[in-house]
Symmetry: D2
Subunit: 342 residues, 4 copies
C-alpha cells in the first residue's frame, strides 16, 4: 500500500522507514530536499519524493493517503492547501500535535468535498523507528479501516509487550499498538490526555528523586539555621548520601515504578550523573495545558497534572512576582526579612 508523507523530519521519516520495511511504498514531500535525498538513497524504489505539494499529490495513487507530519503551528495551512488539491475519497491524516478542536473543525470543512480527515496522535518520540509508534486515531470508520495495513506496520505490534492476562485469540488492534478511538478529534484527544498523564508521571519521578537528592540535608546543615529558617528537628534522619543514578537503575527491575520513562531517566543520569548539562527551565508544548482545560470544562479534578504544569511555569520564573508578594506580606505583618541568597 502507498503512503504519502508531508514532512520528512525525524518522525515522518521514521514512519516512512517502518512501512517500507514492511513492503509498502511511500511518496514524500518536504521543502528540505536533503531530507528527500536521504530517504531516496536509503529506500531506493520504495520511495519517491518532491518538494512541491501539488506535484506530490499528483504522484499519489487514488484514493490518496496523505499523512501530514509537521509542527502543529504549520499544519492548518498545509491541510487547507491539501483540501484544494485532493479529491473525493482521498484521506488526509494529521499525525502531529494539533489541538483536537482543530480536528473537529477540519473534518467539518473537508467533509463536503468528500475528503476524509483522520487525526492520529502519535507517541514514541525519538525511539519510534525501532520501538514502533503508539497510534491513537480519530475519524470515520471506513477510512480508518482502509488505513489498517499501514497502521499495523507503523505500530509496535503485539510482541512489544506481554499480553494482558485473560486476553487471547486474535489480538485487538490496541494490542498491536493502534486504536480507533472515536470520531474526528478522538485520536488527538486521547493523545492529549496521554501527554497529561506523562506530565504527571514525569513530575512524580522528578519529585521523588529530588527528595533523595536532599536526603543528606541533616549531615550538611547540622545546626546552622537562621531565625528565618525552620530548624531540622531530627538531623540524624537525613544523613544519606545516595547514588541517584544507581537508584534509578535498581528500580528498573522488579519494582512497582518500572516504566519506560524510568528507563530513560536512568539513561540520562548515567550519562550526566549530576544533570550539569541542564538549567532546569522546563518548557511545555501545549498538551498539558489543553488536558487541564478539558478537565476544567468537564469538571474532573486534575491536581496531579496541575501541579506538574505549574512546576514547569515556575521553573521558568513565573512564580517570582507571587513570591515577592509573599515576602512583602510577611514583612508587613511580622517584620520578617527575606532569606539571603544561598
Amino acid at each position: 500500500m502507498q503512503l504519502g508523507m508531508v514532512g520528512l523530519g525525524r518522525m515522518g521519516a521514521n514512519i516512512v522507514r517502518r512501512i517500507v520495511r514492511d513492503g509498502h511504498t511511500a511518496v514524500g514531500c518536504d521543502r528540505r530536499t536533503e531530507n528527500i535525498d536521504e530517504l531516496t538513497s536509503e529506500l531506493g524504489d520504495s520511495f519517491d519524493g518532491t518538494a512541491d505539494l501539488a506535484d506530490f499529490v499528483g504522484r499519489l495513487e487514488t484514493p490518496r493517503v496523505v499523512w501530514v507530519m509537521i509542527p502543529a503551528g504549520a499544519t492548518g495551512a498545509v491541510i487547507d492547501q491539501l483540501g484544494e488539491l485532493l479529491e473525493s475519497g482521498d484521506i488526509v491524516i494529521d499525525g502531529g500535535n494539533s489541538r483536537y478542536h482543530e480536528d473537529i473543525h477540519r473534518a467539518e470543512r473537508l467533509s463536503p468535498k468528500g475528503i476524509h480527515y483522520v487525526d492520529i496522535g502519535t507517541s514514541g518520540g525519538v525511539f519510534g523507528l525501532e520501538r514502533g509508534f503508539c497510534l491513537m486515531i480519530g475519524g470515520e470508520s471506513g477510512p480508518v479501516e482502509h488505513l489498517d495495513p499501514l497502521l499495523k506496520s507503523i505500530a509496535p505490534g503485539v510482541g512489544a509487550a506481554e499480553r494482558t492476562p485473560g486476553r487471547d485469540g486474535e489480538p485487538s488492534t490496541a494490542e498491536q499498538g493502534y486504536l480507533h478511538c472515536g470520531p474526528a478529534g478522538a485520536g488527538h484527544f486521547v493523545k492529549m490526555v496521554h501527554n497529561g498523564i506523562e506530565y504527571g508521571a514525569m513530575a512524580a519521578y522528578a519529585e521523588g528523586l529530588n527528595i533523595l537528592h536532599k536526603a543528606n540535608f541533616g549531615a550538611e546543615h547540622a545546626g546552622e539555621f537562621s531565625a528565618e529558617e525552620t530548624p531540622l528537628e531530627h538531623p540524624e534522619f537525613y544523613r544519606y548520601d545516595l547514588d541517584i543514578p544507581e537508584v534509578t537503575e535498581v528500580w528498573r527491575r522488579g519494582s512497582v515504578v518500572a516504566s519506560w520513562l524510568l528507563d530513560l531517566t536512568a539513561g540520562a543520569l548515567y550519562a550526566d550523573p549530576n544533570l550539569d548539562s541542564f538549567d532546569g527551565r522546563v518548557s511545555d508544548s501545549g498538551e498539558g495545558r489543553w488536558t487541564l482545560d478539558a478537565a476544567i470544562d468537564v469538571g474532573v479534578p486534575a491536581p496531579i497534572l496541575a501541579a506538574a504544569l505549574f512546576q514547569r511555569f515556575s521553573s521558568r520564573g513565573d512564580s517570582l512576582y507571587a513570591d515577592k508578594m509573599l515576602s512583602a506580606m510577611r514583612e508587613a505583618f511580622g517584620g520578617h526579612h527575606e532569606l539571603p541568597k544561598k
Copy 2:
C-alpha cells in the same frame, strides 16, 4: 494584677504596655538591659525589671504569673530553669511559637511540682500594641481563669469587630479576642492551624495578583513564540496593563476578599508598587510545616496549605534538581531542548 514577663522584645514589651495601660503592673526580665531601661522610663512605677532570672522570680508576688516571650529555640531552656525557681501554685506561660508537642511534654514535667503550664498562641504581629493580640490558650481551667484579668487587657476587646449576628448579651471571651481552647498544647495547636490558614490565604492573594501582573502578556508577546513554547491562542484576551496597587486598594472596601492581610498588601504595594525591594525568597517559620504534619497524621486533605508551603520551598531554589530532571527526561524521549534564560 501583676505579670512577670521574660523577654522584652517587641511582642513582650507591647504586652506589658497593654496591661499597664489597663492598670496592671509588670516585672520584666531581659538580658538586654536597654529593653528594661526603655520600659522603666516609659512606664514608671508600674514596671520593674532585672536581667537575672532568679532575681526576677524573687520580685514576683505569689502565686507568680510568668509569661515567657522569647524565640522558640530558646524557650525550652528558660522554662526548665523556671521549673527550678518557681513554686507550687505558680503559673508559667509560653506565649511564643513553640510546637504544641513541647507544651504537652512541659506540662507533664511541671505538673509534679504543682506548677501550672499554660500555652498561649499569640497573633497580632507588629500591630499588637494598638490592635490587641488574639490569644489562643491551652492548659488547665483553674490557672487559665486566674489569668483572666490579664488576658482581657492583652486581647483586642469586643469592640475590635462588629458582633456576629445572633450573638448578644455578655460577650464570650472569644468575642473579646481570647479563648481557652483546651488542655496543654491546645493553644499552640489552634495557633499553628491559624498560621496554616494564613499561609494559604497569603498564597491565594499572591497567586491572583500574579495573574493580574501577567494580564498584559498578549500585548507584550504577540507572535514571538519559539518551538518550545506554547503559543497564546488568543492574545487579544490578555491586553490589560493593570494598576495592581489600586486593585488591592479597591478590594479593601465592599468586596468578598476584604481582610486584614489585604489591608497590609495594599499598604506594601502603595509603598513599593513594583515590589523592587524584595527578591522573592520566602522563608517559613515552622507552623505551616507542623500544620501539614498534623493533617497527614489525622488524614485530612490539606492541598491549599501544601501548595502554599511548597511554593515557599520552591522560591528558595529547592525545585531546581527536580526541574533539571524534567529537562533531562524531555531531552531523552523527545529530543527537546530547554528554553533559554529570559
Copy 3:
C-alpha cells in the same frame, strides 16, 4: 443623575436603592412586575419602572445609562436587544458575571453605532445594600468618567475601611471602592481573578477548620487501626475537642487571618455549629474555572486556585472513577483490599 436598571433582583434593586439614597433617580425594567411595584412603593418619585424594554429605553434621558444586572446566561441577548434600541452616545453596562471575553466582543459590536459598553464586576453579595458594592470597571475613559456620580453612590466610600498608611489628600476612586481598571473586559477580568482569590481563601479556611475538626482523632481512634490503615504514631498529640465556632470567633479580633469571609464563617457556625444543614456538595459558578484558564494561558502557576476548584469538583462526586482506578491498581500489584465504608 439618572440610572436605568434592567433586572431588579436583589443586586439590581439594592444598587437602585443606594443611588436613590444619594439623590439620584432610577428607571427600572423587570418582567417580574412585583419587583417594580416593591421599589415604586418604597422609593416614590425617585423610581419609575416598566416590564417592557423598549418602553424602558424610551423613558430614559439621553445620553442614556443602562445597567444590566441579570443572570450571566441571559445577559447577551438583552444587550443585543439594547444594541437595537439605544443610540449613539448612550452607555450600556453589564454589571453581572459575564466572562470578560464577552465584553471584548460586545464592545466591538456596539462601537460602530457609537454605543459605549462598560463592564462592571460587582462584589458585595447579599450585603451590598448596607456595605456598598466594590466595583471593578472596564471600558473607555470618557463614558466611565460620565458614570462617576453613580459609581460613587454605589461604592462603599472611603470610610468603609481605614486609609492605607501613606495615602492622604483626596482619596482615589479605588479608596472609595470603585476602580476603572482598563479597556473593555478589564472590569470583569479583575472581578474574575478576585473570585479566584476568593475560592482560594475560602478553601484555606475550610481546610484549616477541617484539621481542627479532626484534632481529637487520637482520643477517638486509639489503637483501632486495620491492616489497611496507617496507625497514628502519636495519639497523645491529637486529643483536642475544640469548639470550632468559638475558634472562628476569636480569630476575628487581632489575628492575621481576620477577614470578612471569617466574619461570615463565624456567623454561619454560630447559627449551625455542626453544619448539619449542609451536604457538602459545593458548586462553582464559572469565575474560578475562567481564572484558572487565564493562568494556564499566560503561564502563571495557580496551585491554590486549582486545589480549591478541584475540591469542589470532588465534593460533587467527580473523583469517584479515579478513586476506583486507584483501588483497582492496588489490588492488582499488592493484593490490597479497599477499606470498608465507615
Copy 4:
C-alpha cells in the same frame, strides 16, 4: 548459602522459593504451621521449618542470616527477641515496610552485641516470585557483601530489562536489581520514596483516565445546567464515548507512558471494564505519608505526592467537613444553595 526466614506469608515464602531455585537452602519460622508444611512438601531437603523462634535460631549455621518478613507492626518485637537470641557476627534483616527511623534505632541497639542490622526495602508485590524482587538495602558494607549470593538470587537479574545505553561490562548490582544504598535505614528510605513516586504515578494514570471517562459529557449533558452549575461552553468538544480498557491497552506498546503500573491497569480494566467491583475508598499504608514528612523536613516541594495522598484521604470521606464549610460560606455571602445530589 543458608537463609533464615521469619514469616512465610506470600512475600517471605516467595523469597525462599527464589533462593532455593538457585541452589541455596532455607530455614523458616512461622506460627502458622500450614505455611511451613507447604514449603516443606514443595522444597524437600532444601527447606526446614519450625514455629518456635529459639528453635529456629538454633537450626541456623553461624554466622546466622535471619530475614524478618512480617507486618511492620509486629516487626519490632520480633527483632527485639532476635536481639536476645542471636550472637555476635549474626545478621538480622528487616525486609518489611518499617519506617526507616526504626532501622536507625534498631541498628544502634544491636550494635553493642555485634549483631549486624540490615534493612531491605522490597518491591515486587504479588509478582515477585516470577519477576524477582527489587531490593533497596541499608546497613554496614561487610554484612551486606556477605549477603550477596542471596541477594543476587532474590533480585530479578540483569536480563529483566534491557541494559541502559552506555552501560557495559560486568553489570553493577543495581543492574541486577539490588542496591546497597547506604547505612542503616537507607534501604527503607529509598523504598519509602519509591512508594511516594508510586502514589504519584498511580494518581497520574487515574486522573487522566477520569478525564477520558468524562469525555462524553457534552453529549450527555447538553443544555441541562442549573443556575448553580457552570454551563459547558463548547459541548461539541466533549462527545467522545471512549473504550477505556482498550485505551490503556494501546498505551502499553510504544507510548511514553508505558509502564508496569499501566500493564496492571490494563489487566484490571480488562477483567472489570467499569470497575464495578470497587467502591473507591482508597487506603494508604504509611509510606506516602512518611515520604511527605521527609519532604517537609528537608524543604523539598512534593506537590504530586501531596495531591495523590490527599485524594486518598478524600476518597475516604475526610473532605466532608471542609466541603460543608464551603457551602456554609457560599450561602452566607451570596445566598447560594448547594447542588442537589445526583
